[in-house]
C-alpha cells in the first residue's frame, strides 16, 4: 500500500505567494496615490509613514500591545472553559438546554456599544471588564460549535458502544467528544478573530493601557498614522493567533490528514 496522501497539507510557502503579491500591490498603489496627490498626512498617511511611526513609537506600541494580548488570551480561555462546561451540562441534561439556550442567544443580541461601557462601569478600568467582554463575545460561538459537534456523532457508533455495555459517560468520552473536535476547532478559529476586536473595543471604552487606548489617544490628537499603526498591530496579532489555532488543530486532528483510500 502506498503512503497515504495527506488531505489538507497545502503547498506551504508557495501557496501564500498570490496573497502576499496582492497585499503588496495594494500598499504600493496607496503609497503612489499619497505621493502624487500630495494629500495631507493628517488625512491619509502613506504606508511608509505608518511604518516610520511604528518604528519611532515602538516602545509605546509594545507596552500597549501586551495588555491587549493578555485580555484576549484570558478572556478567550475563560470563554472556552465555560463553554465546554456548559456544553457538557447541556449534553447530559436536554431540559437544561431548552431552559438556557434562549438566554445564550439573547446574550448575542446585546449591542457591544451599549454593553461595553456598562461592564467597564461595573468592573473598573483593569483587566476584568476586558476579559468579561471577550468572553461574552466568544462564548456563544464556542458553545454552539461544541453542541453541534456532539450532535454530529454517528448514531451507529453510539449504538455499538451501547451494545458493549458502555455508560452514558463512556459514550460521551469515547464518541461524542471526539466527534465534536472538528467543530470545536472551527469554532475556535472563528472566535479568536472576534476576541481581539472585542478586547480592543473594551479598551477603547475605558482602560489604562492597550491598543484600544492607543487608537483613542491617536484619534483625539488627530494622528491617523498612529491609529493605522495600531490597526496593523491588531491585525498581525489576530493573524498570529489564528495561525496558532490552525496549528493546534493540525496536531489534535492528525487522523484527518489521512485521506480516504477506498
Amino acid at each position: 500500500m502506498q503512503r497515504p496522501v495527506p488531505r489538507h497539507k497545502g503547498g506551504g510557502v508557495a501557496r501564500g505567494i498570490p496573497a502576499v503579491l496582492s497585499v503588496a500591490c495594494a500598499f504600493a498603489l496607496w503609497e503612489i496615490y499619497v505621493r502624487l496627490s500630495g494629500i495631507s498626512p493628517l488625512v491619509l498617511p502613506a504606508p511608509s509613514r505608518v511604518v516610520e511611526q511604528m518604528v519611532l513609537n515602538r516602545s509605546l506600541l509594545w507596552d500597549n500591545t501586551l495588555p491587549t494580548i493578555k485580555a484576549t488570551l484570558a478572556g478567550f480561555a475563560l470563554s472556552v472553559t465555560v463553554a465546554f462546561v456548559f456544553s457538557v451540562l447541556l449534553d447530559f441534561r436536554p431540559r437544561l438546554r431548552r431552559a438556557l439556550f434562549p438566554i445564550f442567544v439573547v446574550s448575542q443580541t446585546l449591542p457591544l456599544v451599549a454593553i461595553a461601557p456598562l461592564v467597564v462601569l461595573w468592573f473598573g478600568f483593569d483587566l476584568a471588564p476586558k476579559v468579561l467582554l471577550v468572553a461574552l463575545v466568544t462564548f456563544f460561538p464556542m458553545l454552539v460549535s461544541l453542541v453541534d459537534g456532539y450532535e454530529s456523532t454517528d448514531p451507529e457508533i453510539e449504538a455499538l458502544l451501547f451494545s458493549m455495555g458502555a455508560s452514558r459517560g463512556v459514550v460521551f468520552r469515547s464518541a461524542r467528544l471526539p466527534s465534536a473536535m472538528p467543530y470545536f476547532f472551527a469554532g475556535l478559529r472563528i472566535s479568536i478573530t472576534y476576541a481581539v476586536v472585542a478586547a480592543i473595543f473594551a479598551e477603547y471604552v475605558g482602560a489604562r493601557a492597550g491598543l484600544g487606548i492607543v487608537i483613542l489617544n491617536a484619534k483625539n490628537s488627530f494622528r491617523p498614522d498612529l491609529m493605522l499603526a495600531a490597526v496593523v498591530i491588531s491585525s498581525a496579532l489576530t493573524l498570529v493567533l489564528f495561525a496558532l489555532t490552525a496549528l493546534l488543530q493540525r496536531v489534535a486532528l492528525r487522523w484527518r490528514d489521512f485521506g480516504d483510500q477506498r
Binding site: P4, E156, A159, L160, S163, G165, A166, A175, R256, R262
Partner: protein, 251 residues
C-alpha cells in the same frame, strides 16, 4: 441448551407494527441466519437483543435466563462498520475490551495475535480511512470477535461490499468461523450467503415481520471455495421462491 430464544415477540415503532409474534432460537455453537426482504425488521430484532429497544410483548431468554438489556453477553456488529475514524485500527479493535474495563495494554496484547488471521497485520497503526472496504469490514469483525462474548450478532456484515470482495470475505469468514465456532446470529438478504454459512435459516415476511419459514442446512463444511452441491442449489432455489412469493405484497 439454547443460547438465545425469542418467543411471541412483537414490537411497534411510532405506531408502525414492525415485528409480529417472532419466535426463534440459537443453540450453543450454532450458526443461524435471518433472511428477509429489505425493511422487514431484521435490524430491529438485533436492536432488541442489544437492549436498544424493548419488546411490547413476548419473552427473550439468554442461556435460560431473561435477557438483561445492559448485560446481554452478545457482541454486535452494526450494519455499517461504525469504525471510529479518529482511532487507529488496533484501538478500534480493542474498543469492546476497553469498555469492559480491560486496561489498554492488556487489551492490545489480547488483540494483536488475532490481526494475522483477520488479514490486518501491518495495518494496526492505520486509520480506518486508509483501509479498503473489505479491510474495514474485517476490522469491524475483529472488533466484534475480540469482545470474547458468548454470541455474535452480525447485521449484513458483507452487504456493502462489491460482489468479488464479498465472495472473498465470505470464504475467509467461513474459515474463521470453523476455527472459532462462535454461536452466531447473522442478518442478511443474500440467499447464497445464508445457505453457505448457516446451520439453520429463518425467513421473515415483509413488515410486520413474521417467521414464514425455517430450514436446516445439512451440507458438510467447508461449503465455499468448491462447486456448490445440488442440495445447496435446491435449497437456494426454494428460499428464493419463498422470498419472491410468500413474503407478502410488494410495496
Amino acid at each position: 441448551m439454547s443460547m438465545l430464544s425469542m418467543k411471541g415477540v412483537s414490537l411497534a415503532l411510532e405506531g408502525t407494527r414492525v415485528l409480529d409474534d417472532i419466535a426463534l432460537h440459537v443453540g450453543a455453537g450454532e450458526f443461524v441466519s435471518i433472511l428477509g426482504p429489505s425493511g422487514a425488521g431484521k435490524s430491529t430484532i438485533l436492536r432488541l437483543l442489544t437492549g436498544a429497544l424493548r419488546p411490547d410483548q413476548g419473552v427473550i431468554t439468554c442461556g435460560g435466563a431473561p435477557l438483561d438489556p445492559r448485560d446481554h453477553g452478545f457482541a454486535f456488529m452494526p450494519q455499517r462498520d461504525a469504525l471510529m475514524p479518529w482511532r487507529r485500527i488496533i484501538d478500534n479493535a480493542t474498543l469492546g475490551l476497553e469498555v469492559q474495563g480491560v486496561p489498554r495494554r492488556e487489551a492490545r496484547a489480547r488483540v494483536l495475535p488475532l490481526l494475522e488471521a483477520f488479514g490486518l497485520s501491518g495495518f494496526e497503526g492505520h486509520y480506518p480511512a486508509q483501509l479498503s472496504g473489505g479491510m474495514r469490514q474485517r476490522a469491524a469483525l475483529l472488533r466484534t470477535v475480540a469482545q470474547n462474548r458468548s454470541m455474535l450478532l452480525l447485521d449484513e456484515p458483507f452487504g456493502a461490499l462489491d460482489a468479488l470482495t464479498r465472495t472473498r470475505m465470505q470464504r475467509w469468514f467461513e474459515e474463521r468461523w470453523r476455527e472459532g465456532r462462535w454461536s452466531t446470529l447473522l442478518v442478511t438478504h443474500d440467499i447464497r450467503e445464508a445457505v453457505a454459512l448457516s446451520d439453520r435459516i429463518y425467513v421473515l415476511s415483509r413488515r410486520p415481520a413474521r417467521v414464514i419459514a425455517e430450514r436446516a442446512v445439512p451440507m458438510a463444511r467447508p461449503r465455499l471455495g468448491r462447486p456448490a452441491t445440488a442440495k445447496a442449489h435446491a435449497l437456494e432455489a426454494e428460499l428464493l421462491d419463498i422470498l419472491l412469493t410468500q413474503t407478502g405484497d410488494s410495496p
